[in-house]
């Protein structure tokens, strides 16, 4: 299998797996204790959690703390519902998690539009009375990098907090400057599934969503998994150490894919983007493309048509629609996601086969 779906999830880094092992112990090991227990094995587990927390903090701005959650979705819930925002502005291309939570929160919602390149204007007006502005760092479908520093400044000028969904950017780019709340997911940066985090700037007050034992300073109850924390921490440390190298790898792969897929049109900005994401639509002159057929014919190549979460819904992507694409254009689009472990040969083979399959369709 050739895996070109690194926005959906990433393979677990061997280093992260290794870090998890000692905390998956049986009775002989001591590496299983509840990190909230005050006895000796409990304190050792708590120490491992704190080491991991520091590794994740190192990926994020100064002056805040990291709250572990079960996923980025939960982190976004904690940020949006926990801030008790009465009026929320989000970009039209946020992940469904943000849009759904904002809607469910009962707040008044304002949409921040994007241009045809998939970018929010850094000087977009923010309505008076807005209490939370949420714009993602890197879009999950088209890879565009939003001007978050400028948007954070706009939010602050309007008296609002700025929430950044950094799920696709964390560990790949410098952290979003000026954000008050940042959501992360371990499994998008080569860590394990089942753990995410919310970074909270010092002084920002949140109300908890999950009550109980009062872990994570009362903000998120539930026993923490030292194994998941350690895997997340090791993945974060590795991402930081390899940031330049990882970026260079996907940029090189992006160039190769663009060359082979020259009869395709790029969705979203070519410059303001993470090059691990290549979202393309078949150029109009070649006629419509049946993406479902393409995917089934190329069963051993894992790529996608939009986000994994929305897969199978049959609805055209709200992100591609926001760029001004027609339903037909949106439905003729594919997303190729390159990652740390993607090789040049894999990209060449996959792109050549995608191109041939498209030609065979008469597209």
């Amino acid at each position: 299998m050739i895996y070109l779906d690194n926005q959906s999830t990433t393979p677990l880094a061997p280093e992260a797996r290794e870090a998890m092992l000692q905390w998956l112990g049986g009775p002989e090991s001591g590496g299983f204790a509840n990190p909230h227990s005050p006895h000796r094995p409990g304190r050792a587990a708590a120490a491992a959690v704190e080491v991991a927390r520091d590794q994740i903090v190192a990926l994020l701005p100064l002056g805040g703390r990291v709250i572990f959650t079960g996923s980025a979705t939960e982190a976004l819930n904690l940020a949006i519902c926990g801030s008790r925002a009465a009026r929320i502005a989000t970009s039209t291309i946020e992940h469904a998690a943000v849009l759904d939570i904002a809607r469910a929160s009962g707040a008044v919602l304002d949409e921040l539009p994007v241009d045809r390149a998939g970018l929010v204007d850094a000087d977009v007006p923010i309505a008076p009375g807005t209490s939370l502005v949420a714009v993602m760092q890197v879009n999950n479908e088209i890879g565009t990098i939003q001007p978050v520093a400028g948007l954070a400044a706009r939010a602050h000028a309007a008296g609002a907090l700025f929430l950044c969904d950094a799920v696709q950017g964390a560990g790949k780019l410098a952290p979003p400057e000026g954000a008050d709340l940042i959501a992360l997911s371990a499994h998008k940066l080569y860590g394990p599934k089942g753990i995410g985090a919310l970074w909270v700037r010092d002084g920002v007050e949140l109300a908890p969503l999950i009550h109980g034992g009062g872990q994570e300073a009362g903000l998120r109850s539930g026993t923490l998994s030292p194994a998941l924390c350690a895997g997340f921490g090791a993945a974060a440390a590795l991402a930081q150490a390899r940031m330049t190298e990882d970026a260079a790898n996907v940029t090189a792969l992006w160039d190769i894919a663009r060359d082979i897929l020259c009869h395709w049109t790029l969705n979203g900005s070519a410059e303001a983007r993470w090059h691990g994401n290549l979202n393309l639509r078949r150029a109009e002159e070649y006629g419509p493309l049946d993406v479902a057929r393409l995917m089934s014919e190329l069963g051993d190549i894992a790529f996608s048509a939009g986000s994994a979460c929305a897969s199978g819904s049959g609805r055209p992507s709200h992100v591609l629609r926001a760029l001004g694409l027609s339903d037909m254009q949106a439905k003729s689009s594919i997303r190729l996601g390159f990652g740390r472990y993607t090789t040049r040969d894999e990209v060449i083979e996959a792109c050549q086969r995608i191109e041939s399959a498209a030609i065979d369709q008469g597209a």
């Binding site: 049986g26 009775p27 001591g30 109980g212 539930g222």
Partner: protein, 342 residues
């Protein structure tokens, strides 16, 4: 003084079973997103659904299973999104449930730690533990469930301590946590008789829980449950040995008249504060606790013991044993207890 670590805090968390560890490591290799429609994603989806089916079989549960990050999240999900509003909880619930209930909604318990089923005959959601996490007392949930249903209500059972050891009670919603029965931390589930009892809010798990699924955790949870509870009879003998020894040294067994799970007991050492006991046991590398791990270190009086009217609650510690606990380990603990109590 022996320096080997002696772990008698299984109510806080349990060591991972080898089968669960194996399943988790296998699961880490199935890393694709189960929501992705490509082959790798579909393989992950198939593994997830297999884990779900195995969890149902192992628990003897015919309803739905919603995987969560743990019991706290499962309980929160149940209380926040049940079609019936919370009507009552017992006064001895875990904080994860207790804090949702106003004082008037907390049903009292008697000195044995038991709720009167007649008081639970309420319309609305009634949330109650199967097994108390501090005393091990088993609540008669089948009777309570019948009372709740007769009034048109729904029963939410917090089975964090009982699942994987006791048969599930006859409840409408049930919260479980894998790390309490030899599975990994970070995965739990809300069992619901039918989805119609909950309001969906979008995302994965058929729209009842957003977030990419923790597949390795789900597989490990299934494997842990499949290991069964055949060891409990042996644990009952271990506990008898423990409690005989404690009584001989002048200790008091809390709720000794109640039906209790074999793995959890609360014991009073008259004249010695629980904090002092913990420090001394810890110095001998023996892990026990005073109440729940979550509230450890707060030095608040246990709300559980207070609700039961236990005199000398400040001198009580919790000893919780597991499937690997041996008779010599019990003797080592008793030796330490005797020296401390003298």
């Amino acid at each position: 003084m022996t320096t080997d670590s002696l772990y008698l805090d299984h109510a806080a968390t349990t060591p991972m079973l080898p089968a669960a560890r194996e399943a988790l490591l296998d699961g880490l290799a199935i890393w694709a997103n189960p929501s992705s429609p490509h082959q790798a994603g579909r393989a992950a989806r198939a593994a997830l659904e297999d884990a779900r089916a195995r969890v149902k079989t192992a628990l003897g549960w015919s309803g739905e299973v919603i995987f969560t990050s743990g019991a706290s999240e499962a309980l929160t999900l149940a209380i926040a999104r049940c079609v019936q509003p919370l009507a009552a909880v017992s006064a001895v619930e875990h904080e994860a449930v207790l804090r949702y209930a106003a004082p008037a909604e907390r049903l009292p318990v008697d000195s044995r730690g038991l709720v009167d089923p007649a008081q639970a005959a309420l319309a609305g959601l009634v949330a109650m533990q199967q097994v108390n996490n501090e005393t091990g007392v088993i609540q008669p949930l089948d009777l309570i469930g019948a009372a709740v249903r007769s009034a048109g209500g729904l029963l939410l059972a917090d089975c964090a301590q009982g699942a994987g050891k006791l048969a599930l009670p006859d409840a409408d919603l049930i919260a479980i946590s894998a790390h309490k029965f030899g599975g990994p931390v970070g995965i739990g589930a809300l069992l619901v008789r039918e989805f119609g009892m909950l309001r969906p809010d979008g995302g994965q798990e058929r729209g009842y829980r957003g977030g990419t699924e923790n597949l390795p955790g789900a597989l490990a949870m299934a494997a842990a449950l499949e290991e069964g509870a055949g060891w409990l009879a042996e644990a009952m003998r271990r506990r008898q040995r423990l409690e005989d020894g404690i009584r001989t040294c002048g200790g008091i067994v809390v709720a000794s008249a109640s039906e209790r799970i074999a793995t959890i007991g609360a014991y009073q050492m008259p004249g010695v504060s629980s904090a002092a006991q913990l420090i001394r046991f810890d110095a001998q590398n023996i892990a026990v606790s005073a109440g729940s791990a979550c509230s450890s270190g707060s030095l608040r009086t246990s709300h559980v013991l207070e609700a039961m009217g236990v005199a000398g609650a400040g001198e009580v510690i919790r000893v919780s044993i597991g499937r690997e606990t041996t008779a010599p380990e019990i003797d080592r603990f008793l030796d330490a207890w005797q020296k401390l109590a003298a």
